[in-house]
């Protein structure tokens, strides 16, 4: 079973954590034991579920936005070289702008709804997609493009038949990085932008619980975030096998 090594490792880590929390003399308000987190998790399913639904929506929409924008900018840069010199420095710079500086402005523009949070997630997650896709598009076999030209392919057809599929595995690698980062990006988005209403997502929940010394519940929310990140990552890995089967297919299995 392929999940067995991961399960064994998690079990070992949980055991060590449990021992340390019970016998290591660390404050439960600083690090609750796994069994305490599990109890809290079971006792707060309603609250956690409602917050999870909000965060999951943010993550999925935000990632969608970042994949589309990262990919679109990469294609634009590839098709028109001067754009590379114009767009790359600001794109790199955008990764260094602290969200805390931008968040109030985003809220000022778009209010307390989901949109400013999506912008924060997209801002954090588009970059790996952009970089890997640009490199993937640049690494296309020039001779394949030349061949397509002899078959009278238009610029668009050369892109569609050669460059796009050639860049797809690299773009998907970038997407996997983006997905792994997406959940923490949602946390940052929720923690940095104000929300109105009883539920603000798991990130907001963690911030509130931490300041109210409800540490086990904050940890329970963090566990849900971790599981969600893992689920997203493997969903994308599965999608990759469907979208770019030629990269994973073993050789020699002739029909």
């Amino acid at each position: 079973m392929s999940a067995l090594p991961a399960l064994l490792l998690v079990a070992a880590l949980l055991g060590a954590w449990e021992l340390y929390a019970d016998l290591g003399g660390v404050e439960p308000s600083l690090l609750p034991a796994p069994h305490a987190i599990a109890t809290t998790l079971a006792g707060n399913t309603g609250l956690l579920w409602k917050n999870f639904a909000i965060t999951a929506k943010e993550v999925l929409l935000g990632l969608g936005l970042s994949l589309v924008s990262g990919f679109a900018i990469a294609v634009a840069i590839h098709l028109w070289r001067p754009l590379r010199r114009a767009l790359y420095p600001p794109a790199v710079g955008s990764q260094a702008v602290p969200i805390a500086v931008l968040a109030p402005l985003l809220v000022f523009w778009w209010g307390f709804g989901i949109f400013p949070k999506l912008i924060v997630i997209a801002l954090i997650c588009f970059f790996p997609v952009l970089v890997t896709t640009v490199d993937g598009l640049a690494a296309v076999d020039r001779d394949q493009v030349k061949l397509l030209r002899t078959l009278d392919a238009s610029r668009w057809q050369a892109f569609r038949f050669a460059e796009l599929p050639a860049a797809l595995p690299a773009a998907l690698s970038g997407a996997r990085i983006a997905v792994a980062v997406g959940v923490i990006a949602a946390f940052i988005a929720e923690a940095q932008t104000a929300t109105i209403g009883p539920y603000g997502g798991l990130g907001r929940e963690i911030v509130t619980d931490e300041s109210a010394l409800q540490t086990p519940r904050a940890w329970a929310a963090a566990v849900v975030l971790c599981l969600f990140a893992i689920a997203c990552f493997y969903t994308l890995t599965f999608a990759e096998r469907k979208l770019a089967p030629w990269t994973t297919q073993p050789t020699g299995d002739r029909p």
């Binding site: 394949q144 061949l147 038949f161 050669a162 050639a166 030629w246 029909p255």
Partner: protein
Amino acid sequence: MAHRKRFPGADPLNLWGNARGGSDVSVSVSAVSRTYQDRGAVHALARVSLRAARGELVAVVGPSGCGKTTLLELICGLQAPDVGTVRSAPAALMPQRDLLLPWLSALENAALALRIARRPRAQARACAAALFAELGLAGFEDARPHELSGGMRQRVAFLRTLLSEKPVLCLDEPFGALDAITRAEMQSWLARALAREPRTVVLVTHDVEEAVLLADRLVVLCARPGRVIAEIEVALPRPRARTDARVVAMREQALIALGLGDRA
């Protein structure tokens, strides 16, 4: 400059037909020179002239570095000459590396030109599928290129070139990467295919025997810079056997032109 217009009005199933009317000369390269400035002024071709009549198979033989690939790219319109003129009916290139697209099946690779010509997907696939059995590729329609043997990949690449429906085929060492046995099979296969449905073919090869077996005429080039040093008519009946005394003699003649004759 070579013409780059799409060949008009081709019947999708009459893939081999070459009764197109017009001039009897399909390819005319006149006193062409080509120098690559970006690679330290490499003189690829110096005053090279070459003509191929409609339906003729011209083999271009020569050592590495004689500008054979450059010559084909000029005919296909991928490059322009520095000096001289290149006129050609629309030409399709079969490159030295098969360059099959790994994300497409064998059938889709073969039908690529039809898809580029915006034929409906089903029609393009049907056109290619009709020729798969003839080329010994039946059953491999949905295989991906990496699942095919070297000979099969070359056949798919040849089919892709053929289905471009261009009257001139430029074949760049099509069998150079194959083992000797597969190569011999592919040579007789190509001879049969062209005997039944002739096209104008410019075949680049460094294999003199292959040239004599397949071609109507040999154009022998020397290297650095590429120049024509001999033209040999191969007026022998087909099919030709490599053991035929006339084939052997002609091969010897070409080798002597290249300075490689056996002086036993």
